[in-house]
């Protein structure tokens, strides 16, 4: 009994765990796993050109482990052999490593603040270029299109929605979501200051919903890799939400420089609700519009 080894101070309030019906997992060799992941990322970079070497380790490792299990191999070294020799496995790897799961009007207070504080600024521009960097499956892109349409601004806006993964972009372009999500999305929509009924923006059929094609008119979906490609225009608004959380600090800094270089003076940068410009060299170049909301205005 474990209890008998305890000092007197501990006796009396410890109950030893006794029932054991399942085997505990084996102790992992974290250093070896780190080495294998390092080699895997180097191999992918040198063979395919995709550079994940500066991604944040904990989340990357979790994703790589999920992929390893899904591919049915027992080690990360085994996964490396598979993705190097099987381009289809590499495509699956890429998709699984890059998809972020978001929602229509994710983080409603953000969209509400955008409507109240950014829209008035945008009204002063004759033409508005918006870059949604790392748009994943597109839910937040359509949210922005809905918001701009309700504010009467959509006709003079162009939204450039980019992601590094073609498969994700294809899904974003289709603009289809599960009808089971409609209630949750409608709730988000009204909390975000929606003025009509969310159901006005999609057509439902066979358990799925597809966004109305008018919403897609001014959206340009295209492939862009934040970690490797350079700036491709100057924008009045850049949204890059919950993308940089996947990167380690040095890469975050470089991407922040790319976003800064792509943003017009007095343009607006929107980040995820738990992302911060704190400790970034670009921090002094921005002014937060409202405490607690991750909307920043470029001031220098």
């Amino acid at each position: 009994m474990a209890g008998s080894f305890l000092g007197p101070a501990m006796q009396g309030f410890m109950v030893p765990a006794i029932q054991q019906t399942e085997e505990l997992p084996e102790k992992r060799n974290s250093e070896l796993e780190k080495l294998e992941i390092h080699l895997l990322l180097e191999a992918i970079y040198h063979h395919y050109g995709y550079d994940f070497r500066e991604y944040a380790y904990a989340s990357l490792k979790r994703r790589v482990e999920n992929i390893r299990r899904a591919e049915g191999v027992t080690t990360i070294s085994g996964l490396q052999e598979k993705v190097l020799h099987d381009p289809a496995a590499m495509r699956r790897f890429l998709l699984a490593l890059t998809v972020n799961v978001t929602a229509v009007f994710r983080d409603p207070p953000f969209f509400l603040a955008f409507r109240q504080q950014v829209v008035p600024l945008l009204r002063t521009y004759p033409f508005v270029r918006i870059w949604h960097a790392g748009c994943s499956t597109g839910e937040e892109v359509y949210s922005m299109a809905i918001l701009l349409q309700e504010e009467g601004l959509y006709d003079r806006c162009r939204i450039y929605a980019t992601d590094m993964d073609e498969a994700v972009l294809k899904q974003a372009k289709e603009g289809i979501f599960g009808l089971d999500l409609a209630d949750r999305y409608a709730a988000n929509y009204s909390k975000a200051g929606g003025k009509k009924s969310f159901a006005d923006y999609y057509t439902a059929a066979y358990g799925s919903a597809i966004f109305r094609s008018a919403l897609k008119e001014n959206i340009i979906f295209s492939q862009h890799n934040l970690t490797a490609d350079s700036s491709f225009n100057e924008f009045h608004v850049i949204l890059c939400r919950n993308v940089l959380i996947y990167f380690a600090r040095p890469l975050q800094q470089r991407v922040h420089q790319l976003l800064y270089d792509s943003l017009a003076m007095f343009g607006i940068l929107g980040l995820g609700s738990k992302e911060s410009l704190q400790f970034m060299p670009q921090e002094p170049c921005y002014q937060q519009l409202e405490a607690g909301i991750k909307l920043y205005r470029r001031i220098q």
């Binding site: 474990a2 209890g3 080894f5 305890l6 000092g7 101070a9 501990m10 309030f13 410890m14 109950v15 030893p16 765990a17 029932q19 054991q20 019906t21 399942e22 085997e23 505990l24 997992p25 084996e26 102790k27 992992r28 974290s30 944040a56 380790y57 904990a58 989340s59 490792k61 979790r62 994703r63 972020n100 799961v101 978001t102 929602a103 994710r106 983080d107 409603p108 207070p109 949750r184 709730a187 988000n188 909390k191 919950n242 940089l244 959380i245 996947y246 600090r249 975050q252 995820g272 609700s273 738990k274 992302e275 911060s276 704190q278």
Partner: protein, 204 residues
């Protein structure tokens, strides 16, 4: 080796449980606590505000890459997974795990990866299986796992799953978990042999 981090997971009934657990910790408690409480995607900062009233330690929702410091109870933000890197937090919007985001398993497994035997995992009340895998990984990596005595849990499923999995080092009534951790982490000399409490460690 001294413990460096306490991770806590709870679901249904968790708010009341945390209101009993947290007051046990003095303001100079030497370890950071990190809590996943299952909750809806749109629940905001209210949870941290409520818990603040029950804690001498500062309570906050960490931001991405924020340093992990003692003196704080960190609450996983709604609709994100919270992970532990070597000395900082990381957040993701990966798919929910077992319908949960934040997921207890995700927090626990990443803590075990980063801190190995220096982690203490605590599983409280909850109508879920979340936390069992994570607790098993913490234990396998040499850390310590405490499950709330299911008899004292508003919803016994979650701690019971951990116990049945063989992942719990200790099963304690809710009101004794806080005082136990305070004594365990006080690093008083007479508590040093606590590691021997594990029959599989340090024993011939």
């Amino acid at each position: 080796m001294a413990y460096a981090l306490i991770v806590v997971g709870t679901s249904w009934g968790g708010l009341s449980a945390l209101e009993i657990l947290l007051p046990a910790f003095p303001a100079d408690f030497p370890l950071p606590l990190v809590v996943v409480q299952h909750r809806s995607a749109d629940s905001g900062a209210a949870l941290a505000a409520v818990l603040r009233r029950h804690s001498a330690l500062a309570v906050r929702e960490p931001e991405d890459k924020e340093a992990i410091r003692p003196g704080y109870v960190y609450i996983a933000p709604a609709d994100y997974h919270l992970l532990i890197e070597e000395s900082a937090f990381a957040l993701t919007t990966d798919a929910p795990v077992g319908y949960a985001r934040p997921s207890i398993d995700v927090l626990f497994e990443s803590a075990a990866d980063a801190y190995a035997e220096r982690v203490i995992g605590v599983v409280l009340t909850g109508a879920s299986h979340d936390g069992a895998n994570g607790a098993a990984v913490i234990r396998a990596q040499g850390g310590l796992v405490i499950a709330q005595d299911p008899a004292t849990a508003e919803s016994p499923l979650m701690p019971r799953t951990v116990i049945e999995r063989g992942a719990a080092d200790y099963v304690l009534p809710l009101d004794e978990i806080g005082p136990f951790l305070v004594r365990l982490c006080a690093r008083k000399p007479h508590l040093a042999p606590i590691r021997s409490a594990r029959p599989d460690v340090d024993q011939p």
